[in-house]
């Protein structure tokens, strides 16, 4: 179980730019559930993920994982059990290092980074087998710096790197937003496959309503720092893209725009 307990978050406290984003925000997520999150720009989706990962601090409230309070835990320590893929394909990989070096580094997560060889040659075939089914031709480019790859190729690599080692949680923030429709589908399918295979508890923010409806077993809609829609089980299955669109519209009207 992953829990946000009455979180409050204020940006730029004590200045003229002070903004109260979350007030008494609570949310619990069952283990092994795949939650998709939609919501208008500025509704607080990224902030919610940043709070969960410890990228930004909170004013009050608690974050619990399996009952353990991690509110004060440093960001890098939280990633021992989490993988994260960002919207920007450049953020999940190291551009001047090769595909092989990036994969080797990610493969070692959770173990010490000592003075032993960075790349385990015996693993190369496994990396190739992992890349080949994607049909992006990455398996033949292991020696190429990642900076020379396209955004879609980099994002796929970032997703693989984030999920190579045993983790419990997968955090995705619009990870298909910068990709062309075809690559976005490939990455989304891969995501779903990984999530199912590894039974990861997943939080996926997306602006693609179809993805939000088709994938996952629970759907959240956020607006102004609040969860305005929460559907799971049969209810989620019966939700259509048009339903979400009409809710989006009605919220906008309520707010007078």
């Amino acid at each position: 179980m992953l829990e946000f307990q009455s979180i409050s978050k204020v940006y730029n406290p004590g200045t003229v730019h002070e903004t109260l984003l979350f007030q008494d925000f609570s949310l619990s997520i069952e283990d092994h559930s795949f939650v998709t999150v939609v919501g208008s720009n500025g509704s607080g989706k990224t902030s919610m993920l940043n709070i969960l990962c410890g990228t930004i601090p909170v004013e009050s409230g608690h974050i619990l994982i399996g009952g353990q309070d991690i509110t004060k835990m440093k960001e890098f320590k939280r990633y021992r059990r989490m993988g994260r893929v960002y919207q920007d394909p450049a953020k999940g990989t190291c551009p001047t290092m090769t595909i092989l070096e990036n994969l080797s580094m990610a493969d070692n997560k959770g173990k010490p980074y000592g003075l032993t060889r960075g790349t385990n040659k015996a693993r190369i075939q496994e990396y190739k087998d992992m890349l080949a089914p994607l049909g992006l031709g990455l398996e033949d480019k292991l020696g190429i710096p990642v900076g020379n790859l396209s955004g879609g190729q980099r994002q796929t690599l970032a997703l693989l790197m984030a999920t190579m080692t045993p983790i419990d949680f997968l955090i995705l923030d619009e990870h298909t937003a910068a990709l062309d429709p075809k690559t976005a589908e490939i990455v989304m399918e891969l995501t779903n496959k990984i999530v199912q295979e590894k039974k990861l508890t997943t939080l996926m923010v997306t602006h693609n309503l179809r993805h939000a409806v088709e994938y996952g077993d629970r759907l959240l809609m956020m607006h102004q720092g609040q969860i305005v829609l929460d559907k799971d089980g049969e209810e989620k299955k019966n939700t259509k893209v048009d339903d979400l669109l009409s809710i989006f519209n009605s919220i906008s009207i309520e707010c007078g725009n």
């Binding site: 440093k74 960001e75 890098f76 320590k77 990633y79 021992r80 989490m82 993988g83 994260r84 960002y86 450049a90 953020k91 999940g92 990989t93 190291c94 551009p95 001047t96 290092m97 070096e101 080797s104 580094m105 990610a106 070692n108 997560k109 959770g110 010490p112 980074y113 000592g114 003075l115 032993t116 060889r117 960075g118 790349t119 790197m161 984030a162």
Partner: protein, 291 residues
């Protein structure tokens, strides 16, 4: 003169290896080096005078340099001071520390055996003794280079490169990017201090002002090397940096031999560096127009 250029160029090559880590790999403008270079020299000079084997004094110098890097890293990472300022703080503090270690601003070690002048070298036949210094320096520089190359291929080395390339990757790998940066600064400053210690053994004195311009010399070497050999993809950046520093030293010596005074050295160093930077930019512009 060629011999002198090679000797000093190779010594500055070690320095360039250090700068390669901070400037190229970590993208950290580390001014600590202006003081960790003389720090290595001071430690080496004093310990040599106290009868320690010169080779051992090099190691002690490196340790002192690593400590200097640790302090800069600590100030930057734990006290959250900007990178440039952290280096400046350590650099300034080290000036006094260096004076304390050395006891005075200038410490000659002419009277004692040094790394390059001892029983062993005196026993060498004349035809080789002229070259023994440069050969030994070459050996040290190559050893430093090979060790650094090896390190950069280890898991720890990967993490160091990742920290400069995209620090958020280090974080998502559940590693503290701050500690990785500190380790990088320690290695870099250990190398710089080693260069200082070797320089002290070669010129047989420590001088408090010998560090002025270290950053510029190191940066110039790295930039010359990596720009000149950019298209040589098989060449390691460590090799480029060392060749760059020999070329740079050659240019400075050339300028002096063309009639400038030895006291103009730092001026030449700085102006040459400026020329290199401007030339690099002009080249980039041209490429852009052609593209």
């Amino acid at each position: 003169m060629i011999l002198g250029i090679l000797e000093q160029g190779l010594i500055y090559g070690i320095l360039a290896l250090g700068l390669l880590i901070t400037y190229r790999i970590l993208d950290f403008p580390d001014l600590t080096v202006d003081s960790s270079f003389p720090l290595g020299a001071a430690v080496s000079a004093v310990l040599t005078l106290n009868g320690m084997h010169p080779a051992l004094t090099l190691l002690c110098g490196m340790l002192a340099g690593a400590l200097a890097g640790l302090i800069t890293g600590f100030i930057h990472v734990k006290c959250k001071v900007r990178d440039l300022l952290s280096g400046i703080i350590t650099m300034t503090a080290l000036y006094s520390i260096n004076l304390r270690i050395a006891g005075k601003a200038n410490v000659p070690i002419f009277g004692t055996d040094t790394l390059f002048r001892n029983e062993f070298t005196r026993a060498l036949p004349a035809w080789i003794s002229d070259y023994s210094t440069v050969l030994l320096i070459l050996l040290i520089t190559l050893a430093a280079k090979l060790l650094l190359d090896l390190f950069l291929k280890t898991k720890a080395g990967y993490l160091l490169r990742a920290a400069g390339d995209n620090a958020s990757v280090v974080t998502t790998l559940a590693k503290d990017q701050g500690s990785v940066k500190i380790v990088g600064l320690m290695i870099a400053n250990a190398l710089v201090a080693l260069a200082g210690a070797v320089m002290c053994q070669q010129q047989r004195f420590f001088d408090i002002s010998m560090g002025t311009g270290t950053m510029v010399i190191g940066l110039a070497s790295v930039i010359i090397g990596t720009n000149l050999f950019k298209t040589f993809s098989f060449m390691k950046s460590t090799t480029m940096a060392i060749i760059g520093s020999i070329l740079y030293k050659g240019c400075v010596s050339l300028a002096i031999s063309l009639g400038l005074e030895a006291t103009d050295m730092k001026l030449i160093t700085a102006v040459l560096f400026l020329l290199i930077l401007v030339a690099g930019q002009a080249k980039r512009k041209k490429v852009r127009i052609h593209a």
